[in-house]
Amino acid sequence: MQMLGAVLGNLLGSLINLNGSGHYVHWGFIQISVANLVLIGLMVVVFVAAILIPFRRHGGGDQ
């Protein structure tokens, strides 16, 4: 279990390096961290997916 945790930790660590200072995007007077920008992008993706992906319905259920 400890071994698995270490492997997963190393795997994630190799994907995203969280050491050191954060990365920022500058656009005129707008400054935002890449992490926050990614999160906002994810929210937009989830929002669009929630509208487009059909909701599986059980029989009946209508009011």
Binding site: L42, M43, V46, F47, A50, I51, D62, Q63
Partner: protein
Amino acid sequence: MTVETDSDTDVPVDVSADLPEDAEQWTAKLRHAAVEALPPQRLMPDRQPAYVASWIYVFGVLTIAALAVVILTGMVLAIFGPTWWHVSSTGLFVNSLHLWSVEVFFFAMVVHLWGKFFMAAWRGRRRATWITGVVSFVVSVGAAFTGYLSQQNFDSQWISTQAKDGINSTGAGAIFNVTNFGQMLMWHIMLLPLAVVLLVGVHVLLVRRRGVVPPFAPPDQLGKGVEIAGPEATMTLGDEP
């Protein structure tokens, strides 16, 4: 009129009946008003309108689920204290659960907000539902902010020293001192969670009272008199408030 009462408690057997001499009491009036506003079938319905079968309607309850985890993990952190959540592996785990459930809470709440904004969820006498949602969002930001100030690490020091000038420029610094750890902790674990839970509770009761907002009508159904939504907020597809 005689009212049948329980022989042990003297309370009417029929819950909707009052003893004539009690009908004018504030408890009876309040009970009647509450049951009239939210009869049990509306408070805990078995079915939802057909249009609720969409993923965009999931994010409100997802926000509440995340809030439940936030509150529960926060209670565990309060029981064992900072030395536990900073040092022990279980404490660090619960501390992380507290942080990440907050992330899920805000993520789901923002998607919920977008969904409700673009379907103009204040339609059909649902203004109070919308307003309580907006205020819950703002108060939640305050709760999260004071949480970041309560971490007791370099991050919280950085945030407090960066925030103090902004807060002081509004004048609020006189009574809300972000560098006062004790004060911020009390706001975070007492006042703001209480406010968030109360606001979310009122918000959910209003959703139950007015019904879940229907989507906008497709163009071919505008003005055709198709009625949807609950009894308190029945509206015709395409109607505006």
